[in-house]
């Protein structure tokens, strides 16, 4: 059986993650990485789009409580993740597939590790089941 490698998209805040590192180097170590000026700038649309385009998980790395450069961006991001997790669950996308971590790592060295840990957790869930597959299973179960 082919080893399943989940596709994770990682958004991280520039003021808290990797600002001391060589960005080129980090891009080689983290796949599908989008550094962004503030975690609060990540819209629900971006997360949903990611899942729509084939992501199996979305990881958001923001700054610690009380440390957001734009005052409360990390708080807004966490609120958004909280609410989205509930909505996604109703559509069969498990809440473990959307994760937010509020911490700081100027060198960015822990990012590949955090991505790997989440990847392992998502791998257990398998790829995101598309709606048409779920509909098929449901109709099969009905018979």
């Amino acid at each position: 059986m082919k080893h399943y490698e989940p596709k994770l998209v990682c958004f991280s805040c520039k003021f808290g993650w990797g600002y001391l590192a060589d960005e080129e180097g980090l891009h080689h170590r983290i796949k599908n990485w989008v550094p962004i000026i503030c975690s609060g700038k990540i819209d629900a649309i971006h997360i949903l789009e990611a899942f729509k385009q084939g992501a199996d998980g979305v990881l958001i790395l923001g700054c610690p409580e009380g440390d957001c450069h734009y005052q409360d961006g990390n708080f807004e991001a966490r609120k958004r993740v909280y609410l989205l997790q509930r909505i996604l669950e109703a559509y069969g996308i498990e809440k473990e597939r959307l994760k937010i971590e509020l911490s700081v790592d100027p060198e960015g060295n822990t990012i590949p590790q955090i991505v790997k840990e989440m990847s392992d957790a998502v791998a257990k869930l398998g790829p995101v089941r598309k709606t048409k597959d779920r509909a098929k299973t449901a109709s099969v179960a009905h018979r």
Binding site: F15, L20, V34, I36, K41, A55, Y70
Partner: protein
């Protein structure tokens, strides 16, 4: 690792400086406080690695303020206006500058000279203190050939009177010598004007096309009571605080100079406390007699800083408030004591006009008396040079600092009006601008007036208290080493992180200078889509998103001077009516998602 740029898009433009955070307005030279706070908060944890960045940040500050490292020991005016003071404590910016100084001052010896083409006129600066040197520094950078004439054998002026436990003399020495080296300023020490043939006319004949006079206040003010000079100031054992600090700075007094002596210091300003704490460190038992009252919030409140008074009290100095000195009592030509009536009020509606109740009088005895009631300029010199009017007042235009008697002479600093170091530096800057306009034949006043507009504090969920600053225990302070402990790298980063960047982006640009953003994105609101719900107003912590009426409809707008281009309002808008122009974030996300 980030590198901070100060050219191109990251350059802060002079013209837009009217919009500033309150701290930068309070600073007489409008230093880029916000920018350096943000940069300090992004320093690495490792002190060795942080050194390069600290030098970069310091080089940036040095461009406009070559005295910034000294500010880190003795200034801190900005903290008085910090918006955070109502939310847990002003950002301790003075300590942040001191932190930078701890690394940078050592580096100053290796700082490269500025490469400037000096093809403009010769200008003379009289006085090698902060006012004069600041003028010399900026004029040199503009290409003028500047000569500083300093009466004594060292540069620094009144800064030398600051005791070593507040400003280490090595810091002062290093800063002065490197300043003139880096900017290529010609210095003539031991050149006192008024001595021999050295006059302003002679300088003019020698080819100096403009002169900045910043001679400061070299003489102490004598003690008066009821408008009359108090008799007995020539008794043995009576001295002036100004002279004492001068002698200490030259290392002329031994550590036991006042051992076992009872000293009475007259004065209530910061300098009086400098003198009292210095005398204490020389072994004396000190009592301070101040005209002013203990309650600092009253009109007659003692002018010295709270911190100085607390420290003095900790060091065992006794402070007596609301007393004047009516008589100095001597015996066989030696000081014996003073008689002090109660001072019932210091200021009235006309100004300084002390009133006394001579029925309530106390006597104090001592071995020596140190008078520290102010400093005065060299009036005889100003008189000879014809810069005074019939009433003996300096005739200078307060806006341009140009002398109204001699058009090529500009006057500023303590000699004109006594103030802090940074205020003298500001006058040096004003004189620079005036001298340039004068020599280039431009209008002296056009476009120079600045009305600054301050900003309130951004809203956030939680605020943090200020960093704890430690002083050495009082019993261990009886020396002239610094008594205040500076910040560690970790403390500096955390304290700088507390800065909530009240000021507009145009006066900061920290994020652009280190490559976080390409530019300051403008926010565009689509009038058709905006329903005027006001969710963006809630989402914006900077009071930038607002609702307004346009042709009977309520729609939202953005005040671009308050906007931080953070994008919170864009995300919060339920109608997708807002967007950031030229922001590539959307494209970057699309690119990553496309290859999933």
């Amino acid at each position: 690792m980030w590198k901070t740029e100060s050219k191109g898009a990251a350059r802060v433009e002079e013209a837009l400086k009217q919009l500033l955070p309150p701290c930068q307005i309070k600073c007489p030279i409008n230093e880029d406080i916000q920018r350096t706070n943000v940069l300090i908060s992004l320093l690495p944890e490792d002190p060795e690695l942080a050194k390069t960045q600290i030098v970069e940040i310091s080089d940036y500050l040095y461009e406009k303020n070559p005295f910034f490292n000294i500010c880190g020991y003795i200034c801190g005016l900005c903290e008085l206006e910090c918006n955070y003071k109502t939310k847990g404590g002003a950002i301790r910016r003075r300590l942040l500058k001191r932190f930078l100084s701890d690394v940078y001052t050592e580096h100053l010896g290796q700082k490269e000279e500025y490469s400037i083409v000096k093809d403009k006129e010769n200008v003379a600066v009289i006085g090698g203190g902060p006012g004069g040197l600041m003028c010399a520094y900026v004029l040199s950078k503009k290409g003028y050939r500047v000569t500083v004439l300093e009466a004594s054998d060292r540069l620094g002026g009144a800064l030398w009177l600051i005791p070593g436990y507040r400003l280490p003399p090595e810091i002062l020495r290093t800063t002065m010598s490197n300043l003139v080296r880096v900017a290529g300023i010609d210095v003539k020490l031991n050149s006192k004007l008024g001595e021999g043939k050295l006059t302003i006319e002679k300088l003019r004949n020698d080819g100096y096309r403009a002169i900045f006079l910043a001679k400061g206040t070299p003489y102490p003010r004598v003690l008066t009571f009821d408008g009359e000079v108090v008799e007995g100031q020539d008794l043995s054992g009576v001295m002036y605080g100004h002279t004492l600090l001068y002698e200490v700075s030259h290392g002329n007094l031994g550590r036991e100079y006042f051992d076992g002596k009872k000293l009475i210091v007259i004065g209530g300003g910061n300098v009086a406390f400098d003198v009292a704490r210095t005398a204490r460190r020389l072994g004396g038992e000190v009592t301070v007699i101040a005209l002013e009252a203990e309650d600092k919030s009253s009109r007659d409140g003692i002018p010295a800083d709270e911190e100085e008074i607390t420290a003095a009290w900790e060091e065992g100095i006794r402070i007596v408030y609301s007393r004047g000195v009516e008589k100095i009592i001597g015996e066989h030509g030696r000081f014996k004591g003073i008689s002090c009536p109660k001072c019932t009020s210091v200021f009235d509606d006309q100004g300084y006009n002390p009133k006394f109740d001579c029925t309530d009088c106390i006597s104090l005895e001592g071995d020596a008396m140190i008078i520290t009631v102010g400093q005065v300029p060299d009036r005889a010199f100003l008189q000879r040079e014809e810069l005074l009017d019939e009433k003996g007042r300096l005739v200078v235009d307060p806006f341009t600092l140009q002398s109204l008697r001699k058009g090529f002479v500009f006057v500023g600093g303590d000699v004109r009006r006594i103030g802090f170091m940074v205020e003298a530096m500001k006058e040096g800057l004003v004189a620079t601008e005036s001298i340039e306009r004068y020599l280039r034949g431009l209008d002296m006043r056009e476009g120079r007036k600045r009305d600054y507009e301050g900003y309130g504090i951004p809203v956030r969920k939680s605020y943090k208290p200020e960093v704890e600053v430690a002083w050495i225990a009082p019993e261990k302070r009886m020396h002239f080493q610094l008594f205040e402990k500076g910040l560690t790298l970790k403390e500096a980063r955390e304290e700088a992180k507390r800065c909530v960047t009240c000021g507009p982006c145009v006066s900061c640009k920290a994020c652009i200078s280190i490559g976080f953003e390409k530019s300051l994105y403008a926010v565009e609101v689509d009038d058709e889509r905006c329903s005027g719900c006001g969710i963006c107003v809630y989402a914006c912590n900077y009071d930038s998103a607002r609702l307004t009426e346009v042709e009977g409809n309520t729609i939202s707008t953005t005040d671009m001077f308050k906007c931080k281009s953070c994008g919170m309002c864009v995300v919060a808008c339920p109608s997708h009516a807002r967007k950031l122009i030229d922001d590539s974030t959307e494209q970057r996300i699309e690119r990553v998602l496309a290859v999933l």
